[in-house]
Amino acid sequence: MSPDRLDATFAALADPTRRAILARLASGQASVTQLAEPFAMSQPAISKHLKVLERAGLISRRRDAQRRPRCLEAKPLAQATEWLERYRQFWEGNFQRLDALLDELKTGERKAKKEKRKRAKR
């Protein structure tokens, strides 16, 4: 991907409305009206966002009679590796806490065993 294209992609992704539009399109194509529905925004405002996404190559228009639904162009952003990296980070955050918890459980078990031995000696 060219640096210009990459800039356009990141700029397009920087806006929460546009990310929400992409998330919606990830589940299938949709018309401008459908895309505008969840937002308290006028259709022209949504159309502006769509233009930005289109310029970044993140979405495209289908020629489907009058509706011209938008659909997601996954390639520019969805390098599988990037997703996997995020997924990895998500789990790693969880697993670091699990490490700490397991340490605690191990200590607890050791203490319990010691107690048992003490009691057995008496």
Binding site: L13, R19, L22, A23, A26, S27, L72, A74, L77, A78, A80, W83, L84, R86, Y87, R88, Q89, F90, W91, E92, G93, N94, F95, Q96, R97, L98, D99, A100, L101, L102, D103, L105, K106, E109
Partner: protein, 172 residues
Amino acid sequence: MQNTGTLKLETRGDREIVMTRAFDAPRNLVWDALTKPELLKRWFFGPPGWSLIVCEVALHVGATYRYVWRGPDGTEMGMGGVCREFVPPERAVCTEKFDNPWYPGEALVTTTLVEQAGKTTLSLSVLYQSGEAREAVLKTPMEHGVAMGYDRLAELLASPPAQGTEKGAGAS
């Protein structure tokens, strides 16, 4: 050098994502941490500010499980499924479906624990119903997926003790 703490993530075939991670603890403790709600709630909640508010576990074949997470802004994300295999403390197979799915069908999650010299390797395989479903997952942008505000994750990783301090901070 021990390779505990290194998370390996890979795709296998065209329908599967596999994750492996070693823990410096015996298998029975890792199993407990994966199956006891009071323990799950202490680590299985994603980025800071999120919590696991519903945690119903499935402890036999045919039982259903359900997890719901809540974010700092009140957003909730739920998922659940049915237990297909349950072999403590080494293996569990469950279906997985999110309340707001972003991929078609349900996935089959296989968890296996292998203990060696007091350390346990966790392997988590997610098998999607079709290659298209896995592609949908891999192509999902930003906040979809297991993702719950990944932006905040970077903060967590940069400052491990910070978790919890942000609770209730909301969208400030």
